[in-house]
């Protein structure tokens, strides 16, 4: 079982990078949500009209909700605060974005397909299940996990 020993040793070594990978993912996601969030706040009425044209009910309320969750998401993902709680509404936003906008364009990002929102959904699902890692306010406030 040399291979097994090797793989377990390797795992012990690579486990040290878990929190780094979660930190990088959080920062990249925060950056990714930054522009959509600001665009929604700046062009609030246009966004509400767009939502309404997509058949989303209560468009102005939903715009306010989406824009708030996204800007909150930028801040909280960056700080690693309430990470699990904020990732869930962000995942829902990604699902709705895929269903209402992207799915008819296919997969590829080149055609405005659902590739990027799918990746965001997957990153968020990793963060929601693993938490924010060591380098986060969650860890400072709520202590070590497990």
């Amino acid at each position: 079982m040399r291979l097994k020993d090797f793989y377990l040793e390797l795992s012990v070594l690579l486990n040290y990078f878990q929190s780094f990978s979660l930190l990088f993912a959080r920062i990249v996601l925060a950056y990714g949500f930054y522009e959509p969030a600001l665009t929604k706040w700046r062009n609030f009425d246009t966004t509400a009209e767009w939502f309404s044209s997509l058949g989303i009910p209560l468009a102005p309320v939903m715009t306010l909700l989406t824009a708030s969750i996204e800007i909150l998401g930028v801040l909280l993902l960056f700080l690693g605060l309430f990470t699990r709680l904020i990732t869930i509404p962000l995942m829902i936003i990604m699902v709705i974005a895929v269903l209402t906008v992207h799915i008819s364009n296919g997969f590829s990002v080149a055609d405005n397909g659902f590739e990027v929102p799918l990746y965001y959904f997957l990153f968020l699902s990793i963060l929601t299940s693993y938490g924010a890692g060591e380098f986060s306010l969650d860890r400072v406030i709520f202590g070590k996990e497990k």
């Binding site: 793989y7 690579l14 990978s21 699990r84 080149a110 699902s125 406030i141």
Partner: protein, 146 residues
């Protein structure tokens, strides 16, 4: 109160760790499938292209990249040697960003480094967290056999 919510959500959401890794593995495997097949179809052209970008030993590196990618598709799907195969794939992503995408900026719409950066992040998460329970790695190496 906040601590209670945090603990409760943690206890529930931790159960989805392996599922999130499985879905992310499938997405990355699917993402590598097309570039890998494209490289194998005309490896000579890839070598010339690598050469034109100033990559040393273009033929050797074309074969290395194409082999790592097709191996990556298979291994990420079945979750075998996940932490190991993620490392060369991350190197490929870094080289791709440096040689092709960096000059185009961030956005995927301009062929920027957005998508390879997301792939690198997924692979970094795989290499540090492993493949989760729904993988051959788990059954071969991690599961307690006694």
């Amino acid at each position: 109160m906040l601590v209670k919510i945090h603990t409760l959500s943690k206890n529930i959401l931790q159960n989805f760790q392996s599922l999130s890794l499985l879905l992310a593995r499938f997405a990355v495997a699917y993402g590598f499938l097309e570039p890998a097949l494209l490289k194998w179809k005309d490896i000579g052209a890839v070598a010339e292209w690598f050469d034109s970008m100033g990559i040393p030993f273009p033929t050797l590196n074309a074969y290395m990249a194409a082999s790592s990618e097709i191996l990556g598709v298979v291994l990420l799907t079945i979750g075998l040697f996940t932490r190991l195969i993620s490392i060369p794939l991350m190197v490929i992503m870094v080289v791709a960003i440096m040689t092709v995408h960096l000059v185009h900026g961030f956005s995927a719409g301009d062929n920027g480094f957005e998508i390879p950066l997301y792939y690198m992040l997924f692979l970094f998460i795989f290499t540090s967290h492993g493949a989760g329970k729904f993988s051959l790695d788990y059954f071969l190496f991690e599961k307690k056999t006694q």
